[in-house]
Symmetry: C2
Subunit: 190 residues, 2 copies
Amino acid sequence: MNALKRRILADGKNLGNGILKVDGFINHQVDPQLMDACGREFAARFAHLGATKILTAEISGIAPALTTGQHLGLPVVYARKQKPITMPNEIFLTLTPSHTKGRTVELIVSPEYLGAGERVLIIDDFLASGQTMLGLVRLAQAAGARVVGAGALIEKSFEGGREAVAALQIPFESLVIITGMSDGQIIFAD
Amino acid sequence: MNALKRRILADGKNLGNGILKVDGFINHQVDPQLMDACGREFAARFAHLGATKILTAEISGIAPALTTGQHLGLPVVYARKQKPITMPNEIFLTLTPSHTKGRTVELIVSPEYLGAGERVLIIDDFLASGQTMLGLVRLAQAAGARVVGAGALIEKSFEGGREAVAALQIPFESLVIITGMSDGQIIFAD
């Protein structure tokens, strides 16, 4: 998606070690218009899947998941990383290694909002190693739901995520694919 | 705002001790259409303030802040509760007691995205004691920005937040005001 690619080129920063800083428009400061355009694009690509619910992980998945939900008319569930006091004691929980945090994080969903019969579309900001995406898939499966598709704003194709999600045999779409970040560069596919 | 009030009556739960569970449409599962309507309402009420940026606190402030940003055409900054590796070492940080967590949390903003000359509109999900709102105000002030208004989806008028923000002498708007939650009830103003 050209608008996102242009924005990464203008405002993204390659911090080294495969870390792409997009804090100016996705991860700390959010550009609502850009997120709306990304949500519209996801909605167009996934409209045929008959999804009934969107699933993402807090925190930075929320913005693109919400705008996708707006365009598809679907509720959005964000997996929590800490169990709030409003959540029942029986929960779905999975552990997933966090690339950027250097530790394992919990992903938690309440059975109240994810259950058998749901057709789940997963939306997240990044696809890197794919571990967060696989964690969300495990949560959906634990709930008896079916994952019908998955999307990421930005895929780093050199960290194995595409191969990890390929095993799921579901449609996967990323709006921008970055194929290399060595020597301070940001190289896009195409 | 009637749509939000109706939804609280239909799906909100009074868990006791002043805890209102709105996990089904705001805090864990999000209703994008309802959040869009709330954002449109905030935009209408605050359009005259000439805000240049919206500030909220992760996690549950993100959805209403984002939709308000969509309708006002403004970037949204969400204060982080943990410093990500993409953030510079010089940051604005304030401590604020969390009503629902029973402990103090950090609110962190990067100077990259909040600075002198900004006219800041604060949007959050709840106004309870007002401590999160005041923490966000301190961050904006530390950045040299001016807070021009503040809004919350749901105000619990019996926890002192209105009095706390009144001292700021800025326009404050809540879309729904709850005046009492004793005996399992949810009592609205008006």
